[in-house]
């Protein structure tokens, strides 16, 4: 194994080491974390480059090939998620610095913002470790451990604000995530009992209909759906996301739910696709349809900005699973490219929205939508970021959301699946309604009423804008991710999975 192959471990080990150091050396925790985020970004760039030259890579940790050891792998979907996480990682780190600096300047309660900042950095770095570990991992039990890292750190981050509501939400989040990972773990046990291996590559090669595998897939899918908050198992998401600190909401809504979703996606399309019946895909699709409609209606009923954004996450997550039956029936890679587009576009947009909401809340002191009129006069960059992110949620060109919905719609129409097409369109109308409801408030300035005192903070406004622009311009950059996916697919069909390097 060549020295340069070890780049693959950097996205996991950079934040992991940073978490240890940030916990030890608190004065430098921001710089340590930022350095780790930048280093992961660099490593992911190297990985993408190597992938385009050499194709998918497998790295046997400790030199032990599967089935005995654990393998790290890169392929198209994993790399897209890694790029997304790395970019968002740098953005969120910068925003969090601005957020905590402002909070510490004007504490509502002495000591509280300091405690929050102090523990935010190691927890955030561990979250990043878990996410990157999940995207890279090629071992079904190792995936369980990364799920636990993600789950515990997410609950810890959600509890960080220290308010009663957020503590309740965090406890519920923790228990739900425990339930989800237990269900997943039982599925893993069934897989091990059926095939006797844990490596994803070997499982893919071995996947054949067997009595244990249906039980395993059902258990793992339910667990992951619960963790992803797909309707009707979404009940825990809005309070947990809405009551957290702004950077934490951005992390939870933008990145964390995508982690468990990605695993679900991988299991359904990569590993066990030959053994699943069509009815299972349609069931997933109807859950997605339920999420889009029910979530969309719930969004319209919200009075508080952060709750509104949280419910819109519930609705948008529906698009991710409604693609399952489309991809199954279409048989083409188009629908599942759309899923990854949707996931990355939504992640960038949602991060930008929660960042903007946090900035607005810091400056206005509240987030009641009714009283937010005219924020644009004071926070023009933030208001623009919110609107740009909204464009992605609606799915207008040239956003990433547009490309994704367009691909889904084309697949649905080509396969004569009218019902799914109608739901997709209805979801867009609902999104238009709830985005414009807020944007109209932000941009209309009542003539007589100065709403808030003038304060500016560059680190709060610009990361949000950049994330929003990324989501907006993802459509223009579409060829690059598509190239990654296609490169992966060509190799995927040619590759006979043998495991080690």
């Amino acid at each position: 194994m060549a020295f340069a192959d070890s780049w693959i471990v950097v996205p996991v080990f950079a934040p992991l080491t940073a978490a240890l150091l940030a916990f030890l050396v608190r004065r430098a925790s921001f710089f340590i974390s930022l350095a780790a985020a930048c280093l992961s970004l660099l490593a992911v760039a190297v990985l993408v480059n190597r992938f385009l030259v050499n194709g998918p890579a497998a790295y046997a940790v400790g030199g032990w090939d599967p089935p005995l050891g654990i393998c790290l792998r890169t392929d198209g979907p994993a790399l897209i998620m890694l790029v997304l996480t790395a970019v968002a990682g740098v953005g969120i780190s910068l925003y969090a610095k601005g957020y905590f600096t402002l909070r510490i300047e004007r504490p509502s309660r002495v000591g509280r913002p300091e405690r929050q900042e102090r523990f935010f950095w190691p927890l955030w770095m561990l979250q990043l470790t878990g996410l990157n570990g999940l995207y890279l991992s090629g071992d079904i039990f190792n995936l369980y451990v990364t799920l636990e890292v993600i789950g515990v750190s997410a609950a810890a981050l959600a509890a960080l604000s220290g308010k009663s509501a957020s503590l309740i939400a965090a406890l519920r989040y923790l228990l739900v995530s425990l339930l989800g990972s237990m269900s997943y773990l039982l599925g893993v046990v069934f897989v091990y009992k059926t095939y006797g291996v844990l490596d994803l590559g070997l499982l893919q090669a071995a996947a054949a209909p067997a009595p244990g595998v249906i039980a395993a897939m059902a258990l793992m899918s339910v667990g992951l759906l619960l963790k992803t908050a797909i309707f009707p198992m979404h009940f825990w998401l809005p309070p947990a996301h809405a009551n957290a600190l702004a950077p934490v909401s951005a992390i939870l809504s933008g990145l964390v739910v995508k982690g468990s979703f990605f695993l679900l996606f991988r299991l359904w399309f990569d590993i066990f696709s030959p053994v699943l019946p069509a009815a299972a895909f349609n069931l997933m699709g109807s859950l997605g349809a339920g999420a889009i409609i029910w979530g969309g209606v719930q969004v319209l009923r919200q009075q508080r900005l952060k709750l509104l954004i949280a419910y819109s996450t519930v609705s948008q997550l529906g698009y991710l699973v409604i693609a399952f039956p489309l991809a199954f029936a279409g048989g083409s890679s188009q629908a599942w490219s759309a899923v990854l587009f949707m996931a990355s576009g939504h992640a960038c947009a949602k991060i930008a929205m929660f960042m903007s909401a946090g900035t607005i809340m810091l400056h206005a002191g509240h987030d009641r939508i009714r009283d937010l009129a005219g924020i644009r006069a004071y926070l023009p960059v933030t208001a623009f970021a919110y609107a740009a992110a909204g464009v992605n949620l609606i799915g207008l060109p040239p956003s990433g959301g547009f490309i994704a919905k367009w691909m889904l719609l084309i697949t649905a129409l080509a396969g004569h699946q009218w019902l799914w097409a109608v739901v997709l369109l209805a979801g867009s109308f609902l999104a238009t309604a709830y985005v414009f409801r807020v944007v109209a408030q932000l941009f209309v300035i009542p003539p007589d009423k100065p709403v808030i005192t003038r304060r500016r903070a560059g680190l709060l406004e610009w990361p949000a804008l950049i994330m929003a622009l990324l989501s907006l311009l993802l459509g223009l950059m579409a060829p690059y991710p598509l190239r990654l996916l296609e490169a992966g697919q060509i190799v995927r069909t040619a590759m006979t999975m043998g495991g080690g390097p």
Binding site: E148, V152, S164, L167, L174, L179, L185, K193
Partner: protein
Amino acid sequence: MTTILYSVTGLLLFVFGLFALIVCPHPLRKILGGNVMSAGIFLFLVAASYRADTGEIDAVPQAMVLTGIVVSVCITAVALVLSTRLQQAADQGARRRRKRRREEDAGE
């Protein structure tokens, strides 16, 4: 025979724990339920690796169970501290409200 017996026991424990986790309102009971659930899964996992006829053991499931036990203790601890803190916050809220009520009474 032994394998099947312990496998079934493990699955039943899993279901008991699941039921408690969903139904019981008290957080401590929920956390206990989670612990019973994980114990059931571990029992089920190791029961597979045991072969009474050859006496041979598979170390991989045992290592997995060790990992799982440690993870579940960790989650238990975090959940317990969260619920204690929650109770504390609720008490403080009640105390603050009582104080405000008393002040209002005095004001009238």
